[in-house]
Symmetry: C2
Amino acid sequence: MPNEKPTSELIAAPVPAPARRSRGAKKGIRITDVAASAGVSPITVSRVFNAPETVAPETLSRVRQAVAQLGYVPNRLAGGLSSAKSRLIAAIVPTAAHSLFSDTVQVFSDTMSRAGYQVLLGLSGYSDEDEDQLLDAVLSRRPEGVLLTGVAHAASLRERLLKVGIPIVETWDMTDEPIDMLVGFSHYRIGAAVAERLLARGARHPALVSANDDRALARRRGFVDTFAAHGVQDIAEVLVPPPSSVALGRDGLQRIVAERPDTDAVFCSPDLLALGVVSQARKLGVAVPGRIAVCGFGDLEFAADTAPALTTVRVDGKRIGVTAARCLIDRLAGAGEKKVIDVGFELVERETT
Amino acid sequence: MPNEKPTSELIAAPVPAPARRSRGAKKGIRITDVAASAGVSPITVSRVFNAPETVAPETLSRVRQAVAQLGYVPNRLAGGLSSAKSRLIAAIVPTAAHSLFSDTVQVFSDTMSRAGYQVLLGLSGYSDEDEDQLLDAVLSRRPEGVLLTGVAHAASLRERLLKVGIPIVETWDMTDEPIDMLVGFSHYRIGAAVAERLLARGARHPALVSANDDRALARRRGFVDTFAAHGVQDIAEVLVPPPSSVALGRDGLQRIVAERPDTDAVFCSPDLLALGVVSQARKLGVAVPGRIAVCGFGDLEFAADTAPALTTVRVDGKRIGVTAARCLIDRLAGAGEKKVIDVGFELVERETT
DNA sequence: CTGAAAGCGCTTACAG
DNA sequence: CTGAAAGCGCTTACAG
């Protein structure tokens, strides 16, 4: 006897029930399936995942058995919608490809997942242009926190992020006015430190081969200002667009020496450019660091080998990753206030002769 | 006059309405806010985002204005739950750090987002152990497709993925029994090709310095089998755990030459190991490729410069990324069947003297 | 071209 | 320690 109607028609039934609609995630095991199988209510199943300590041990194992048997995986779209906790953290980095930030992303992701969060990677591509669009995509997932690379963001991005009211960590840079939390270091001070080191070595005709993103330009300013303070005003420079490469570095030195044959020091950042510069110097028969001192940025592992005469700047990307993750985790746990952490940097001279 | 009760108490009110519960994403602009502001129904607002071509131009612009003014960002947790379309694709890669796969991830992500999908990165960490746990985390987001790195997955993973029934692309490897689609190349054939090249150069005492992951071991098999087919059975080898590094390569050659002073060829993969081997050879005064021929894997950009005598194997990671993305996009659009695409590889000899 | 109602699969805030 | 009801913010499948 299918389609039996309820007998309670005496009690007004104003709207006739419309035909069944098949929609949404019809297939797949739901929490109610597990509940039925384990002989408990859906709420109890939910607790097994989200607050197991509040469930009786015997119930716990019965539910877990049902979960395993049915192969149930909770639907976090539903869970997130219901609880307003997406358990998602967005990490916005310029690029995934051969990047300075990959160490940071790696440990950040590891640390966050150990704390029960998943990382949604947003690739911003070094341009502010689509950053707004990327932010739309990211925010549509309702992340509970955001890691940002750098501090120079379009005003619109700052405002929107501020309005959303979730914890933010900016990284890999320094500023007096962070959006929220900050774990990084000063690129300006790096440029200044490199300049001082080169000055101490006696350099008087410095040059620059550098990427042209915000952070590289901050290093450039520190470099230029410091030389200026010592009376060296005129610095030859080659700015290259991303992605940096050995070839661009090689080409950079070529242009520098053509323009300024008396160049006695080059600050190249990142290290990939420095490798090109060192290689080209070798090809030209120019002694490094004897004739031209070269300093890079990024401390590529193999640089030590490839270019033992190369001074470089080391930054601990892993430390930035863990620290940033901890900041967010603390904040999400209710603790942790607005703070700025400077992880500093290190000038590395390996085997300067 | 707050809390005015409805006047219709004559019509049975069996269950007293419980107190209001504040829960879920209380704050934030909802689709109903936009609808009210634009003077349309929520469905129309939904259409503006998901099927703008079905909305009258004038309505469209009115709604978009309201969206812009209120700063509305659709909640994809809700949208995904309702439509069973998360617009999320999972990409599972071993690591984010200095990786061969970063090019693939980059273009994959770019291509997918241009098609309206976001990429959820899962870092599997080279071990099958937590792969099940990672899969739980990933599947809980209900991705519409999955990109996998490699083809050697635990049987449980294969089964679970198969059961979910979403499109899968395996990448960076080759197999006769893919889970679904496959975009990659044969590591075994690479090992064989390298062996043949070295044999042609006259090598008779080959050695191996290699990572120990599944794909590196497949290259090893191709290498060993091919030499065996030519009567060379005894191959010295050093297998190193991830992450590979220049230092491990250096150490590797040291052990090889100590064990087999007559070694005349070394296959090192990945290239980071090859760089170490070449560097150590230089330190030992061993001519490369004169005394020992060295072949790497991965075609690191700077290797050309660092070790011009290094033969290496180039694989087009970007092509894998785009192709894999296209496979998924086609399939999600209803077209595209199960297929295997071999992107091949290339042996690169730069300036062998 | 537009809208009213129902439902996606969870969790919250109670009450017991 | 456990559960019944309501609701999170969307979209589907209609109907007009």
